[in-house]
Symmetry: C2
């Protein structure tokens, strides 16, 4: 793209294009959209970002994002505190909450073990999980990590680290996604879904 | 989407999702991405947006974005000031500049006439164009508006407003886009490209 006729615009475009999935063209569109707004609205936009950085805290129990020391899920006595679902990120918590299928609590790792990205176990909330499990002794620990090499590696690492524990360690089901065509599924997924078959229910 | 566990995060997500083309899920991804950055980087991001709003000015000649009273294009004596290209937005200036095919100057309308969006001629830089043409008497005025109903209406309105003028009023060519399949082109475009045929050159 050619020169932008304003350094102020150029700087905003550069910052916006550093966001994930935002290319330079999209950043330009966003910047010019913002420019068309009232000065007050633009200030509110910027304040919301800085306010987030200043205001957001992390739950000291599960490391989910929170405004308090303890997140609303951990603080909720109606949740099942004997079931801990281990996830990679806050997005995963929000995604699972949106299903309305889970009443337990969470433990947010903050990522997965990935040597390529120089992320080791010590960079994640794994030690705190081990200590939490030792202290709380939950009945079930669900490893809800992505079915990727990094996710599998992390799940295996955590499984080993938690031994010995009386808790049941489970993992989320892998299989054919709802509304997917069977013959389009990759072999690993299809094979796994056959091995993990279960009684038919209506 | 379910409740976000932090009001600060919620506020940032709401602001981000007001940007064009950014849905709530993407806004959440952007907010969490920003959260992972240093406090200083987040401040720089916010400052760049506010700095843009405070710093950006508009060229008093062509209404392009600029840091000075006159934009770099209008201030450039090497440009052909006898040819004025009329465009809708700053994005269009940047897009045409990126082609390296145009050495004239611009006039940025700030939009097109659109009764549905309550945009009338008085909301656009049309009167200033009429005055500019009367004062500068350019040799050519290129109407480079989008080939939409609104663009065509605006072009016709400007054409009438500029009469009488000794300037040659032209419009950009419409036709089959480079690398497009002929038989996929719509009838209007294909018909126009046949009417506008010109001597074959190599």
């Amino acid at each position: 793209m050619t020169d932008i006729p304003s350094q102020h615009l150029e700087r905003a475009v550069r910052e916006l294009s550093r966001l994930p999935g935002i290319g330079r063209k999209t950043a330009m569109r966003l910047a010019l959209h913002l420019l068309r707004r009232d000065r007050k609205e633009i200030q509110a936009f910027a304040d919301s970002i800085v306010g987030m950085a200043d205001g957001v805290r992390y739950c000291h129990v599960c490391h989910n994002i929170s405004d308090q020391d303890t997140c609303p899920i951990c603080a909720n006595p109606a949740r099942d505190h004997t079931t801990v679902c281990v996830v990679e990120t806050v997005e995963d918590v929000i995604a699972i909450e949106a299903t309305n299928q889970y009443r337990g609590v969470y433990h947010v790792l903050g990522g997965v073990i990935s040597p390529i990205d120089a992320v080791g176990p010590q960079d994640l909330e794994i030690q705190s999980l081990v200590e939490r499990v030792a202290a709380e002794v939950p009945q079930e620990i669900i490893l809800a990590l992505s079915p990727t090499m990094e996710g599998d590696t992390t799940a295996y690492y955590i499984y080993r680290k938690l031994q010995p524990t009386p808790a049941r360690i489970t993992t989320i089901a892998r299989g054919i996604a709802q509304n997917d065509q069977l013959h389009y599924a990759d072999e690993l997924t299809l094979g796994r879904s056959i091995l993990d078959r279960h009684p038919f229910t209506i």
